[in-house]
Symmetry: C2
Subunit: 337 residues, 2 copies
């Protein structure tokens, strides 16, 4: 198969973790051996866990030598692989959605790992232009590795954009959880596994934004209790007084801001907005993306449906348990960076 085929597997794998990797980008990596057989399909899962390339190398080596016992800590894993790769991945090809990093972050540079491994070629979806990480392709080329670029660059750019927005301003998305018929009232909508996934996303947001209507109707906690995760700060946009007994105040180690305006405070970078029809309409032009979950249920007659005239563009769809979800942007919206 061609470069597009392999890289598309990396793109799909990376999207599974979109929303979970902050402040790092969602990145996917596929490794094929010298004959083109796929040895690893992996993604960066969250900050503090290995980069996609390191995950993929680990997966590939564990296939080729099932006796290897890998350390969990990323730095130890990196060092272990440098010591134990045993040229098993010599002449392999890496397919990465983003140019491998050149910098010492939580782990040493991925570009150096690929050189050490002895890869023959690297296919890169999109260049890394961030100051601290750029230059990976140069490292690869200097080591004599063939670098191919411009493959699926539009798809890889779309995947990367939340990260780019974190760099330039902030990234915000409106999260909706609907039934198949567009309703969202009358209790819990999505299955447990989908709510766990949402709490994982919440736990890496630094701010959740809701309107006064949601506060009064649902009195939500807005925490990440299903994964024992960190609760983000909360911004309540309301022109009415907020009761001190509201559940949102009962969560420890969080700041709660109440304001009448809709602007996000500048210090926040990764912002989830939640709410119903009115808040969605108020926020539609202010958020960068929409994350919409659809359970597989319909509701009984008379339930409240979401009401807006938004037209969206589907960027990626997937599912958690029996619940589908999609990342969307406004149709015809310009790339904002």
């Amino acid at each position: 198969m061609n470069d597009r085929f392999y890289l598309s597997l990396a793109v799909s794998e990376a999207w599974k973790y979109q929303g979970l990797t902050y402040p790092n980008p969602a990145v996917g990596c596929v490794i094929s051996d010298k004959n083109g057989a796929i040895l690893g399909v992996a993604a960066h899962k969250q900050a503090g866990l290995p980069h996609a390339e390191l995950e993929a190398v680990k997966e590939a080596l564990s296939k080729l030598n099932p006796l290897l016992v890998f350390p969990l800590e990323p730095n130890e894993l990196y060092a272990f692989i440098v010591k134990n790769h045993n040229n098993l991945l010599k002449n392999s090809t890496f397919y990465v959605t983003l140019e491998p990093c050149s910098h010492q972050g939580l782990t040493p540079p991925c570009a150096n790992l690929i050189v050490t491994i002895g890869a023959k070629s690297v296919v890169i979806g999109v260049a890394d232009n961030t100051n601290k990480a750029k230059g990976g392709a140069q490292i690869l080329k200097k080591a004599g590795i063939e670098v191919r670029t411009g493959v699926l660059s539009e798809e890889c750019n779309e995947l990367l954009e939340p990260f780019l927005l974190w760099q330039s301003k902030s990234f915000s998305f409106f999260k909706l959880a609907l039934r198949l018929d567009g309703t969202y009232d009358n209790g819990i909508i999505t299955p447990h596994e989908a709510r766990v996934f949402m709490h994982r996303i919440r736990s890496v947001c630094d701010l959740i934004v809701i309107g006064g209507e949601t506060l009064r109707a649902d009195n939500p906690l807005l925490d990440a209790r299903l994964i024992n995760g960190k609760a983000p700060d909360v911004l309540i946009c309301t022109q009415k007084a907020v009761k001190k007994e509201a559940n949102v105040f009962s969560v420890k180690n969080r700041e709660t801001i109440i304001q009448s305006g809709l602007d996000f405070p500048e210090k926040y970078k990764n912002i989830m907005v939640e709410g119903g029809s009115n808040f969605l309409r108020a926020m539609s032009d202010r958020v960068d993306r929409f994350l919409i979950f659809h359970s597989c249920d319909f509701s009984l007659k008379g339930s409240k449906k979401i009401e807006t005239d938004l037209k969206l563009k589907l960027l990626h769809q997937s599912h958690v348990d029996n619940c589908s979800f999609g990342w969307y942007r406004k149709e015809h919206s310009n790339i904002s960076i």
Copy 2:
């Protein structure tokens, strides 16, 4: 990667053509070379076109020898490949969602093709128990090819079930086209490419079923004009009189049946049901599956939303252009065969 990985690619490819292959099953096939590199990912696309195995062999050979010019007609293609494969696929592995056929249908048996090609092993998702086609695995084994079964059998069974229902009684599905908010009134809902896809599905249905309400409200043609395809017969379930001027009667070479009951006439095997809330509720227990399209638009306030209390299970989701769609079954419904 393991058998599950390769076969899952075949399953995904096959689902793209679910609803289009009648009276043949939706089948997918992946071919890897002796080193595990993927050479072909293909599916059976419609009756009269090559089986999945033949499509995959063609794709694989065209990669290995770009100079080959393949005939389009399936029998000629089969004969051409037998003559020109040149052992390029020697020791390959086939991953097929359904046991390769053993019979001379529109094309010669796929099992024989795999033997001729010189495959080393064949991984089969689910056995073919139909009288005319079964026995493919025996042919392979007799030729010394390793046959592995039981991989992703649940997924492959689910994929195959419409075909099994055609054998035992009929297969019927309720098609819904909704906006993201569950509404379905006020004009065209899905983008052009999605409607073309629906017309392709219609063109292989032998019956479309609607209620009197849809007839009176929409006065639909219910044909396959977007692809110049054959219009299926129509069953109108209504207790009121039907006007002779209804558009449905203007389509040539079709039978239109009007009855007050909801039972499908026995002579029909592949049945699409269309309608709104009332007809969906009436038909929910009578159809085998649900095919639900979701455009990426919301509607203006006041539009009519679908109303039922169905609980479904997502079987597969995909998209056409900017429109997602999913195949569903009723949650907890027993497999009906």
